[in-house]
Symmetry: C3
Subunit: 263 residues, 3 copies
């Protein structure tokens, strides 16, 4: 099994073009995160071109945070392109428990077999049909409560499910890993989770999905630790985080990663 | 009467979910401002879910900065939900004097009795039907020229009207307060006004509207003063501002607030 | 011929209202760049008001990065207003080589005679119908390969074409200038090119287009050099860049500008 630093290095060599259909709040930060980590982002959503553009990309992220019916159709088209081409795509069911529209759209997207589903505990519970105490778009449940939901969901999609939190849980339905990197300040800044989706997608290009996802979570969390150590608050955290992500070396990632297999 | 610090403290204890239908330029900063000050933001606008989501939120902001007809309909639905439920909503008539579309939409939104209307002097004058020298979205008039318009407008809506500027003017039509906190650099950064709307909405949850609005303006302006004292320009101002908003204590707010009643 | 510093100074005196129809990723940064440099930005795209708003503006930028059919119609209307009024407008054909929709929309916009077309080498080659190795929205070609395409395109539109890269190339079809300011870090941050469009538009108001465009490129690149000298990475670069743009004096620009005529 390769180290997280190896996965980072392989991703940077590939420098994949990652197509993102994400929410309006996240677009700028998500693009900067992808550039900082070493990938090439594009934000494209219009029905007029979204499927054609997906055909050019190595990976895709879909985030329903500010979707409407027109965007939803584009999401399904693009995800379908990736599914048929066998290329990775990451699905983030933002606030899925909050409205009927999000539930229905999420159910349709799940049918397109996302390579990775990433959400907070409440979102993963809601997506698995097991409730979830979502309040708006923030998590109301602990990661541990969503582990079984994550396993169920992974078996249903045939992909990987990642539950974000203080300690992340990542599973393919059979095996599971825990990733303990991160910093509490990350919960005080918007779109930190959304922007992570792009990093996961980039890491998954040509790499084993469970390990690549854990490596992406670990790299992201470690950059957060480095930023948190020098930031005076959530405002100065963001520039420091992008700097840390850009400066992160494979060696530093291997030294700082806290990934462990779940028995 | 409670101090501004008390209002800040009560808002943080409530940590209200604030639903924002705001413009594309403001979305990210407005969400981060709400997180930094201690509230929980969500940015939701699609017709397919906006009314359902408003039903979950403790407060709402509506900003017409980049609205179109589809968004306008969602704004009216969400504001109607808040009006009927007796929950606070804040209306920002960005650039209302610039186009007929903004004038018509603003007139319809005023019918839904916004708890607080916040704008610059030109916007408040235009909204009250008293002219206003708007040039694009920046103010062309002084706050003092809009005081009478603000009082008229407050009597018409039955709510509070806040005129932003070097010294803000806040009135419920009868009483009025002036808030002298702030920093000139705030006029050199986009969406500082838009992002303030969320803070006002959060402060108004379960608190008396006139005093809560003044406290929100004062907290925001004081964070601006602290940021302005250490920033090298408008770029470094924004991270410093978010840090200051996050670090602001009720005691510091009570010490630094410059609110006075208008005789 | 006036110096670049003179053009900066004249732009700040005019402080033009620049109307931007830009992509979602760029909106916030592009507005802040315009404020920092000394102009007045507005981001307006809705069909319901875009032509009316264009009538109020001194200059316009059009960027197809996240356009769809509805936005495209608004772009054509607003560009038509500027064309008929003889006011400057800047066209950025983001990723034009990537999809048929972008090619068709770009062809229609070219008919409206943009005052300045600005893109990377791949975009200028694609727009001129000469190929271009675009991969997503990043350049795959060197500036030198696009010089002939830029000249051809400028003769076709009757305006100026600017090719962005390590050394920019600017031409009106007959004369040409090279601008060597800039910093490698600028390629690691999203929407740096998009935000430049607003600065070019502001400089072109009432000033000779070829020289004003070169002055804008130089001022922007010089601010990048100053920011790059103090930033620890792409995250801290952005605040430092806005600070530098805001602090840039005409004298410093004249001292640091690296513009030369092409023989």
């Amino acid at each position: 099994m390769q180290t997280p630093g190896h996965h980072l290095s392989a991703m940077r060599t590939a420098a994949p073009l990652v197509h993102n259909i994400t929410n309006f709040v996240a677009m700028n930060v998500q693009a900067n995160v992808l550039l900082a980590v070493g990938a090439s982002p594009a934000m494209v959503h219009a029905r007029e071109e979204v499927a054609e553009f997906a055909g050019l990309a190595q990976a895709l992220t879909v985030n329903i945070g500010t979707a409407d019916a027109a965007w939803a159709a584009g999401m399904e088209e693009a995800a379908g392109v990736m599914d048929r081409a066998g290329r990775p795509w990451v699905f983030d069911p933002v606030g899925v428990g909050a409205t009927r529209f999000r539930q229905d759209l999420s159910a349709r997207l799940l049918e397109l077999r996302p390579t990775v589903v990433r959400g907070n505990a409440s979102e993963i519970l809601a997506l698995a049909g097991l409730g979830g105490a979502a309040r708006g778009v923030d998590a109301g449940d602990a990661v541990a409560e969503a582990e079984e939901a994550a396993r169920l969901l992974a078996r249903r999609t045939g992909g990987v499910v990642a539950v974000s939190g203080p300690v992340d849980f990542v599973t393919d339905g059979a095996r599971a890993l825990r990733v303990a990197n991160g910093h509490p300040m990350m919960a005080k800044i918007t779109v930190m989770g959304c922007s992570l989706n792009g990093v996961i997608a980039a890491f998954c290009v040509g790499q084993p999905v469970l390990e690549a996802t854990a490596a992406a979570l670990s790299a992201y969390g470690l950059a957060g630790e480095l930023a948190g150590a020098q930031a005076a608050g959530p405002g100065s955290f963001v520039p420091a985080f992008l700097d840390a992500l850009h400066a992160l070396t494979p060696g530093a990632l291997d030294a700082g990663a806290r990934i462990e297999a779940v028995a």
